[in-house]
């Protein structure tokens, strides 16, 4: 290897001081400066309180009462108590049902279906469909809950009116189904938008070569579309699972009832922490939710890494 012999008029610097070589010439230092405000805010207003919550979870802290004045560290008692209580497991199971039903199945399937149906359409129909779906997403939950109470009402509810079955108590006889459908309605927009973008990235030629080979609609989805958008599916699953796990809106519809049949973990925490004032217990359950989310995330990431 012939190293350059430096000509006398332009001596090479003795130590090679390299400058940043990323696309914009940011370099680590400037990149840190760019990321600093966000990371600072996150550290102060997210990480710090989150760690505090984790600390609370090992105390018997309450919003009021003697324990508010003088909280004691009780170790993992809150966790043990939660883990041995049937109510917690009931809630966990309901949450799993809720997340699976409304996010993983409802929002993903419906969002994908709409994105798929609208994939190469333009014009007013597409705008109408997307507009309505997104409307359901951006309306404030305080308003939306009223809409659904009005929809599902036993006597004058629009749904019963339309179906001609007055008196059918959706929220009482099918409470979980009701909030699953509700949350599907509410959250489909995100999946729809994400899959809309993802489907735009599926090369049409791949679909068409499958079609030419005679593949049916389902075969095209299986062989061409899903393998292509797997990354998007998983990002989407990750985010909406996370959001659905923490979603409190169903409380406004059913208040966790009837008989705790819709008392998902977010509602359980609300009742413990806000209504019951048991902040230590609430914090412990929050921490458990975090753990479950972690497991879910790792599971998704595994799925993603596999076969790629």
């Amino acid at each position: 290897m012939a190293l350059a012999t430096s000509p006398p008029e332009a001596p090479a610097p003795p130590d090679r001081k390299t400058y940043s070589s990323d696309a914009a010439g940011l370099g680590r230092v400037r990149a840190s400066v760019f990321a600093a405000p966000a990371l600072l805010l996150i550290a102060v207003f997210l990480v710090f309180p989150a760690l505090w919550v984790l600390y609370l979870s090992i105390t018997n802290y309450r919003l009021s009462g003697v324990e508010a004045r003088d909280p004691q560290v009780v170790g993992l008692d809150n966790f043990f108590n939660a883990l041995v209580s049937g109510k917690f497991w009931n809630s966990t199971w309901l949450t799993v049902e809720f997340v699976l039903g409304s996010a993983v199945i409802g929002q993903v399937v419906l969002g994908f279906t709409i994105a798929w149906l609208m994939r190469d359409r333009t014009g007013p129909l597409k705008r109408l469909v997307e507009g309505l779906v997104i409307l359901a997403w951006i309306l404030p939950s305080a308003v939306v809950s009223f809409l659904w109470v009005a929809l599902l009402d036993r006597d004058g509810g629009t749904l019963n009116l339309l179906l001609g079955i007055p008196g059918f108590a959706w929220l009482l006889d099918y409470p979980m189904l009701s909030i699953i459908v509700f949350n599907t309605w509410r959250g489909t927009a995100f999946s729809m938008m994400l899959y809309g973008a993802a489907l735009g990235n599926v090369p049409p030629s791949h679909l068409e070569s499958a079609r030419l080979a005679g593949a049916s609609g389902w075969q095209q989805l299986r062989d061409v579309v899903f393998p292509h958008i797997r990354g998007h599916i998983l990002t989407n699953l990750l985010l909406i699972s996370l959001w659905t796990f923490n979603d409190f809106t169903p409380f406004m519809l059913t208040a966790g009832g009837p008989d705790g049949k819709t008392e998902i973990l977010a509602v359980y925490v609300y009742k413990e922490a806000l209504i019951g004032g048991n902040l230590g217990v609430g914090a412990a359950i929050s921490a458990i939710i975090l753990l479950i989310n972690l497991v879910v995330a790792v599971f998704y990431l595994r799925l993603l890494r596999r076969k790629s």
């Binding site: 760019f34 997210l46 409307l135």
Partner: protein, 274 residues
Amino acid sequence: MSPRRVLGRIGFYTLIAVVLAFFSVPLLWLATAPFTSDPTYEVSLPDFTLANFRAILEHPYALGSLYNSLILAVGTALLVVLFAALAAYALSRVRIPGRDGLLYALLLLSSIITGTAAMVPIYQLAVELNLIDTHLGVILILTGGLLPAAIFMLKDFMDTTPKSYEESARVFGASPLQIVRHVVVPLVRPGLATIAVWAIANVWGNFLMPYLLFSSDPENQPAAVIIYTLYTEGGQANLQLLSTFGLLYSVPVVLMYLFVSKKYGFRFHGGIKR
């Protein structure tokens, strides 16, 4: 047209009709109740009274609360978009060891902050930092909670934009900040718009943080809090006011969405880069 295609068409339009119905039927109540003089949960042909609107206009906090919501939402959205864009850009363009792990960890932690249990730490933090009763405090706290997901989504956007634009600006001598301002921001504008609307929608509906942090003056409270005042002492909803206010409360977000979607188009990029 082949019969199979006709069947396909029929199937398609049936499905679309079902979807349309599913998403529009729940909205009916919001369209009728505010114009009905004595609304119940029943959707019926309204008598087209504007009395409810008159009543809500007389409400001392209703309009002001919408303005407060606007400040909080726009303020938070601006901060989220600005900080998330800078951070996402840096994370997308410069390899930092453990970057993905960090993002996932933050994303997960952000879930704890949305829960009720975090209110005590956040409240006390706000007290210590003197952020009680300020819009800034609410904005900063909400921003902190939304940033991880925003960075996560925006980074996907940034990852998919070609680097040659930046490199070309760089060869011409543009500084990193100039590159961000002149090139990156305009390029990822649909992404920024998406994140902005997402942030706005989130803040718009958030009750607990503003309620807790604005302790001394309902003049500062956003609509999400004021809508809760439209109940009686026994906890009964005043449907006249509630439906009407609900409609007014919804209109700004809808307008915001229409504006953004018209101006920038809506699109999401996704996919975790391996």
